[in-house]
């Protein structure tokens, strides 16, 4: 079911997705699956018999100072072929960081191995980091069969030494490369709110002309901050941002990320799909 402005609506994979697809045919147009899940449990690709697959990834540490092992990039390329994904969404983040050989914190069985946080973290935003990202993208694109899209991470704390805001950083990246973007609206909302900005005002400064895919999910207010939450409904403010994005950006895919709770009810998921499709049907294409 392609919307009038050409965007498809998909779902981030969770254990209940195959059943949901069976019981609610026609509700979603594709499924987004992380590379890490495909690698760990290749059987999840069975869903490709029902729907197209878009691949996501959190392993390339594209904004980090340490590159992943070459086998990781090769495995991502291999899964891109197997899934026939049109692109790979990756975080504009780091998961690996250097750990010196003499570091007293070094793992005694793996001295010099980098720290592997196991979760994507927003990087230090400097021109030096941008240069490294440009080089990492060139390297990745020489191996991958499809383009990468880079996703804005949520900002929960400032990284010391940063010389620009995230929006400036992403604009600089777009000026230096022809990279496409995955705009995660929950992350965007979180970053703006945590910095005391109005998300709608901030969106005006975002390079919307590069946005190919959008993520929609919920947020939590807790411990004095706003946090990502794929187990609660998107706030209305996020749907308002989506209306602007689909009017202004060449969006091809909108992925609902409600994959953190095995108890997320089907009725709520259907209601969220309906909210997104309503936005799509009422937004005026640019």
């Amino acid at each position: 079911m392609v919307s009038e402005n050409g965007a498809r609506v998909g779902l981030a994979y969770s254990a209940r997705t195959p059943r949901f697809v069976d019981e609610h045919p026609g509700q979603i147009d594709y499924v987004e699956i992380p590379f890490e899940l495909l690698r760990h449990n290749p059987g999840v690709l069975d869903i490709r018999s029902a729907l197209p697959v878009v691949m996501h990834c959190a392993s390339l540490s594209i904004a980090g100072t340490v590159r992943p092992q070459p086998q990781v990039l090769e495995a991502v390329a291999d899964w891109a072929d197997k899934t026939a994904t049109p692109w790979i969404g990756e975080h504009l983040s780091f998961i690996l960081a250097e750990r010196e050989m003499g570091d007293p914190a070094a793992d005694e069985y793996a001295p010099g191995e980098p720290w592997n946080i196991g979760y994507t973290v927003s990087p230090q935003m400097t021109h030096q980091t941008l240069e490294r990202i440009v080089a990492a993208l060139a390297h990745a694109e020489s191996v991958l069969p499809v383009p990468l899209l880079l996703e804005n991470p949520p900002i929960y704390f400032d990284v010391p030494g940063s010389t620009m805001s995230q929006i400036e950083f992403i604009n600089e990246l777009c000026a230096a490369t022809d990279i496409g973007l995955l705009l995660d609206l929950a992350h965007f909302y979180i970053s703006a709110r945590n910095r005391g900005e109005d998300p709608a005002d901030a969106l005006i400064r975002f390079p919307l002309d590069r946005v190919v895919e959008v993520h929609v999910s919920g947020v939590d207010e807790q411990a004095g901050g706003i946090w990502d939450n794929h187990a609660s409904r998107a706030p209305q403010a996020e749907l308002d941002l989506l209306a602007t994005v689909v009017r202004e950006a060449p969006v091809q895919a909108i992925t609902l990320e409600y994959n953190w709770s095995a108890r997320f009810p089907d009725q709520v998921l259907l209601a969220e799909l309906s909210r997104v499709r309503d936005v799509l049907s009422t937004a005026v294409p640019a």
């Binding site: 960081a97 914190a105 946080i117 979760y119 230090q124 990284v159 010391p160």
Partner: protein, 276 residues
């Protein structure tokens, strides 16, 4: 240099002890210089926020707990303490990960930690959350028991009089878990005001029916059922509980448990019929 910044962040996220030491050092420095509350220098990492982020990562890495402990997770979220709780748990979580834990090991580790944290009384709505955690722990343990092979050591034997036929647990709860669930499902903040009502629940995994049931029981029944385990003799049971109830009452409880096929009785030991 982002190498340094990224390394520092990674180490703080992966070594909670290191993060705590940094926080202590910074606090000591502030005390020495007398600039407490003057604000963090812009070139320094906000360690309190990094600590919460570490908790957030652990929280996300426990998303599968929604499956077995849905209302405990819901209460932590409703009380807006989820991230803080997981920040406290971070060190134990990382230590556990190094041992390659099973899923059951992860669930048990988190529940044990939560019990300890709730016992400190520092958390809001601690008794409501504690009730739900105990309730869902019992249900989870019995679901595991239904899928596990029966423990033959619990079978009747020459030396034993009373043995559990199936697997059961007894919990003394400060609130009615059913009322808490209703309050959560009803929305709003009613869950936090759930009135205390001391309450004993027997959770019974009936292997022959592959069924899990919960029954509210009185205090004496709860005490009797708690005492029953492999090797429990009538004499030992009577000795342990005679101060709480008369032998006749204890005999009635055992009759009911036997009638409901919760326990087996080896008649060659002392029979409770003689207690009346």
């Amino acid at each position: 240099m982002s190498t340094t910044a990224h390394t520092e962040i990674a180490r703080c996220l992966l070594e909670p002890g290191y993060l705590d030491r940094l926080r202590e050092e910074r606090l000591s420095e502030e005390r020495l210089t007398g600039v407490i509350g003057s604000g963090r220098p812009p070139d320094e990492l906000d360690l309190a926020k990094v600590r919460l982020f570490a908790g957030f990562i652990s929280k996300v890495q426990h998303n599968d707990l929604w499956l077995d402990l849905p209302y405990t997770r819901a209460l932590l979220k409703l009380a807006e303490i989820e991230i803080g709780v997981f920040a406290e748990y971070r060190e134990r979580h990382l230590r556990l990960l190094r041992t390659g834990p099973t899923r059951a090991g992860r669930v048990r580790s988190f529940l044990d930690f939560l019990d300890e944290l709730l016992a400190t009384g520092d958390l809001p709505a601690a008794s409501v959350i504690s009730t739900m955690a105990a309730h869902e722990r019992a249900l989870w343990e019995l679901r595991l028991a239904l899928t596990a092979a029966p423990d033959e050591s619990n079978g009747p034997g020459a030396e034993r009089c009373i043995t559990p036929r199936d697997v059961f647990r007894v919990a003394g709860l400060a609130h009615d878990p059913g009322r808490i669930v209703e309050a959560i499902q009803g929305g709003g903040a009613a869950w936090a005001a759930a009135p205390p009502r001391p309450h004993f629940v027997c959770y019974w995994a009936d292997r022959s029916q592959q069924r899990l049931t919960t029954t509210e029981v009185d205090e004496v029944t709860a005490a009797v059922l708690r005492e029953i385990g492999a090797g429990t003799t009538c004499g030992a049971l009577l000795g342990r509980l005679s101060a709480s109830a008369s032998p006749a009452v204890l005999g009635d409880v055992l009759d009911q448990a036997l009638a409901r096929t919760m326990i087996d009785h080896a008649p060659h030991d002392h029979d409770w019929a003689s207690w009346r």
